[in-house]
């Protein structure tokens, strides 16, 4: 078996047992990246030299018995919106095209403490704004299952890299579905934890009240182990939550007997692809067969999540992205007349169309006279959506639905109609509004051979129930999804 077929935990085990050295592992993945990157483009930066140096240092610590965790020595790729000291961190934007942070994000520090070797930074939609990874300044990432299709977004680079076997696991970030939707499109497992579980310190903000970092990997075991490594209470992030439990791997049990699963009818109506629908029904049947109690129910307000989200996310983004102005870092326009012209030219040349669209919308909804009608209305809607989920979780342990209405669309088909693209986030977005954890688990492929993902949603701080359901499904189906993507390009 090739090394790139292994899960992160399996590779960690082989490193621990000295079947393979950390340097060898890194070299193998570098070879894999060299072979696949021209087709996939999942990386903005591949740090070969740095990775080999880290590998040697990590190997020494493993040999000295200082690093014993499951991820010690295992390579990882980081979405390019997480700061790493001295390493290019671009958010896939021209405006940060030359930016090298002076500190490292807390989630990455936590991984480094666990012995991770960072091999590069992954491509994304510019500033995480998009659902296809086509808005990157560095060109689109392609879906390894069919390179004529998008990998989803905005963590498309991270998910494609894992699916292509370029790296055993990766970190992504999720503001409205940006881990779960591309995980679903790429046939990998991705978790968006409860808001506040992973520190946002060092994550370049898109929508501060919605952003969460999470793992992307080949299976549920990896994701649980990675989440255990990156989750922490961080005094540098005021919204970081001190949790009672961080032992997510303890939930890796093959047992859902008596677990109550709610299926929201509203997630299976108009707009949902028939193949996706039947795949999810099949997957739910598997869990029912393992002893779960499945029930359908009415989850209210589903259609209001997207408009509320776009008001809140755009408003926060318009403010968060004000700091990119050509003064302190990043791109500054060549020629300008005076200060304000410098601002305008640098930002207009530095940001892409989708980012500008959201900044304009966000600035408008916050502007004088509109704040109450749009922003406060959206925050009130958010409160109502949260209450709907509270009601549902009073009855159910987890909620299951699709992660996206369809499988991965073809490249170039989504950006022309932004509103239609936004509607694709209908099943994922409400979790970010309500702070809930969610994950996507691969459950098969459609007739075109594109992966389908099932979304499992937990109540706040109940990742373990979600992980248990996902792991049980995985055990029951013997990881049908496990093989690495075919890497072919098939015309539709």
């Amino acid at each position: 078996m090739d090394i790139f077929q292994l899960t992160a935990v399996e590779l960690g085990q082989k490193i621990k047992e000295k079947e393979i050295s950390v340097v060898e592992a890194v070299q193998k993945f570098m070879e894999r990246i060299e072979a696949t990157e021209q087709d996939i483009n999942s990386f903005v930066t591949v740090d070969k030299e740095g990775a080999l140096a880290q590998a040697e240092a990590v190997q020494k610590k493993i040999d000295a018995g200082e690093l014993t965790g499951p991820l010690a020595g295992v390579p990882v790729a980081i979405k390019d919106n997480m700061c790493i000291k001295g390493q290019l961190t671009t958010c896939s934007s021209k405006i940060l095209g030359n930016f090298k942070p002076t500190f490292t994000s807390e989630a990455v520090l936590n991984l480094q403490k666990a012995g991770a070797v960072i091999i590069g930074k992954t491509n994304m939609d510019e500033f995480a704004m998009g659902s296809t990874t086509e808005t990157s300044y560095f060109g689109p990432t392609k879906n390894p299952h069919n390179t004529a299709h998008v990998p989803g977004g905005s963590s498309g680079g991270s998910c494609a890299a894992v699916a292509a076997g370029e790296v055993p696991y990766a970190l992504g970030s999720d503001t409205g579905g940006s881990i779960r939707q591309p995980s679903s499109f790429c046939g990998v497992v991705g978790i968006k934890p409860t808001y506040g579980t992973v520190s946002r310190y060092g994550l370049i903000a898109y929508g501060s009240s919605l952003d969460q970092i999470g793992p992307v990997a080949k299976d549920v075991t990896d994701c649980a182990a990675i989440l255990e490594a990156i989750a922490s209470h961080d005094s540098k992030d005021s919204t970081s939550v001190q949790r009672e439990d961080y032992d997510f791997t303890a939930a890796l049990t093959d047992d859902v007997k008596g677990m109550k699963i709610g299926i929201p009818k509203d997630y299976f109506g108009e707009g949902l692809d028939a193949e996706v629908k039947s795949a999810i029904q099949k997957a739910v049947n598997v869990l029912e067969g393992k002893g779960a109690i499945v029930e359908t129910f009415d989850l209210g307000l589903v259609k209001y999540a997207i408009p509320a989200y776009y008001v809140i996310a755009s408003a926060e983004a318009s403010s968060n992205l004000e700091r990119f102005d050509g003064v302190k870092y990043g791109f500054r326009a060549e020629e300008y007349e005076g200060l304000h012209h410098m601002y305008k030219k640098s930002r207009s040349e530095g940001f892409g169309a989708e980012v500008k669209r959201r900044i304009m919308l966000g600035s408008f909804v916050l502007s004088s006279g509109y704040y109450d009608a749009y922003y406060l209305k959206a925050l009130r809607t958010k409160a109502l959506i949260k209450a709907e989920f509270d009601k549902a979780f009073a009855k159910y342990d987890v909620i299951i639905g699709p992660a996206a209405p369809t499988t991965a669309p073809e490249l170039g088909k989504s950006l022309s109609d932004p509103l239609k693209m936004y509607l694709g986030d209908i099943y994922t977005i409400s979790l970010n509004l309500a702070g809930l954890p969610g994950m996507s688990v691969p459950i098969g492929k459609d007739s075109k051979g594109l992966p389908i993902g099932m979304q499992i949603i937990g109540d706040c701080f109940q990742e373990k129930k979600m992980i248990r359901a996902a792991y049980t499904y995985e055990c029951a189906t013997n990881k049908e999804h496990e093989t690495i993507a075919a890497m072919s390009k098939k015309e539709a």
Partner: protein, 477 residues
């Protein structure tokens, strides 16, 4: 008859709090320092950085709110105020709009014999901006973020003031309260207290306010008075000419003694405030308020009364000493060491005030230590130095904070108490001043003064004049 106009003034006062660190990061707030040395990712707006609130800022703000009779907002939040300017690294200022920490207070001011209340609309916490230095030669400005993120409270008054005298009384009252609380040093020159003046005029007796303008960042009491007079005159002139006062922000140029509009198309004053998602709400319990209240130090009025009762200091002296926190602290610390409150008060009321005038400095800028003043008081009191030597020594303390024991020793200024030396000096003086001796003996009491003077001269000033006087009388019997 010419129309009579009334000036209506409200103030927005920014005060830098006396915390050791900035409001949202662990950088030092120390004034000065090479550009950008007191900075970190948070206060330079680096991508990925996040703010964490300094608890001391909340406690100082609560203390000022309580001391100015405000109601504390028990659930308060921060908001973002969005505007682009290079001194503001995030291009938004973290401030408070919707739920400021304190509201509905007042302070009492006195102008002449008239007492009145100036109401405080609200008080909020926010971060200061960096500093811009304008390059003379290049067409550029330089940005230093050392001050970026220094905590501020902004105290917004109601439009309750009617003259520059009232404005200055209000500012002085605020300054004293805040200094006494230890929440800020309130130095206008260094910018740790800054005032924006909102001013309108109306005909006396009119019910409605006129259109107001805002003048920003005026940095001395005198400049504030001039700015008020200047803006009042400008607005009256506009009205008399039948023109409109435009609601706008103006900058007062104290050199030209005139203000100019700061408007530009690019400065749409639309700050798009919204709740700061990176900070969580502050919930202030009754217990916390009670604790801050109980920690409130003695404020001026109580201190003044105590000085009169405990130390028998006259009203006038107590007023002057307590008019500056620095001076009151100096008085108390010195008294605690030497246990001679009246003597200490005399030094402050006499020589200190005289030298302050001579050196043109404010009480807040007094630099000498209570230890050295106490030593001087004790030296003089013990008769170890005479009063003219003491004045000379005090000048040195005032300017250089010298140690008086060491100074007197080194310069040999100690009073000579050796009776033998003094006796022989007096004998010489008697021998050489026959005329004065005769006059004294002839009943002319005043003549003794000349003899004392001669003896002091012979002793190079180091004798105790009272003792010289006494011995002379004895020896001339």
């Amino acid at each position: 008859m010419a129309k009579q106009y009334e000036t209506v003034i409200g103030l927005e006062v920014h005060v830098e709090l006396a915390t050791k660190t900035k409001i949202f990061c662990g950088c030092s707030t120390e004034f000065g320092g090479a550009p950008n040395t007191h900075t970190c990712p948070v206060c330079t707006g680096m991508p990925g950085s996040l703010p964490v609130l300094n608890k001391q800022v909340v406690e100082y703000a609560m203390a000022v709110g309580l001391a100015t009779n405000c109601k504390i907002t028990q659930v308060c939040k921060f908001d973002r105020k969005n505007y682009f300017y290079p001194d503001n690294p995030q291009n938004y200022q973290i401030s408070q709009l919707y739920l400021p920490i304190a509201r509905d207070g007042y302070v009492e001011i006195e102008v002449g014999d008239v007492k009145k209340q100036v109401r405080i609309h609200e008080m909020h916490m926010e971060e200061d901006a960096g500093k811009l230095i304008h390059d003379e030669w290049d067409d550029s400005s330089l940005v230093d973020y050392n001050r970026s993120g220094v905590p501020l409270i902004e105290i917004v008054s109601e439009p309750d003031m009617r003259s520059s005298d009232e404005v200055i009384a209000y500012l002085e009252k605020l300054r004293l309260i805040i200094q006494y609380l230890g929440a800020s040093d309130c130095k206008l020159q260094e910018g740790s207290m800054r005032a924006d003046v909102n001013l309108s005029v109306r005909e006396v007796g009119a019910a409605e306010f006129g259109t107001r303008t805002e003048m920003k960042n005026i940095n001395s009491f005198k400049a504030i008075a001039r700015a008020i007079e200047g803006e009042r005159a400008r607005q009256i002139e506009l009205i008399e000419e039948g023109r409109q006062v435009i609601q706008e922000t103006r900058r007062w140029d104290d050199n030209k003694e005139s203000s100019y509009a700061m408007r530009s198309k690019e400065d749409a004053q639309d700050y798009r405030y919204f709740p700061e998602p990176d900070l969580v709400p502050i919930v202030i319990s009754d217990d916390w308020i009670a604790k801050i209240k109980s920690q409130e130090p003695e404020l001026r009025t109580e201190k003044l009364e105590r000085y009169k009762n405990e130390f028998a200091i006259p009203q006038y002296d107590a007023e002057i000493i307590t008019a500056s926190k620095t001076m009151a602290d100096l008085f108390e610390a010195t008294t605690a060491i030497c246990k001679k409150p009246k003597k200490v008060a005399n030094w402050l009321m006499g020589e200190t005030l005289r030298l302050m005038k001579e050196h043109a400095i404010e009480a807040d800028d007094l630099k000498f230590s209570p230890e050295n003043l106490a030593k001087l008081v004790l030296l003089a009191d013990a008769g170890d130095i005479n009063s003219s030597v003491a004045k000379e020594v005090f000048e040195k303390i005032f300017t250089d904070d010298i140690d008086p024991d060491q100074y007197v020793e080194e310069k040999g200024l100690k009073t000579v108490n050796d009776d033998g030396a003094l006796k022989s000096a007096i004998e010489t003086v008697i021998a050489n001043n026959q005329k004065a001796v005769d006059e004294y003996k002839g009943g002319k009491e005043k003549a003794i003064g000349a003899l004392v003077g001669q003896t002091m001269k012979a002793m190079q000033g180091k004798a105790n004049p009272a003792k010289v006087n006494e011995m002379l009388r004895e020896m001339l019997k």
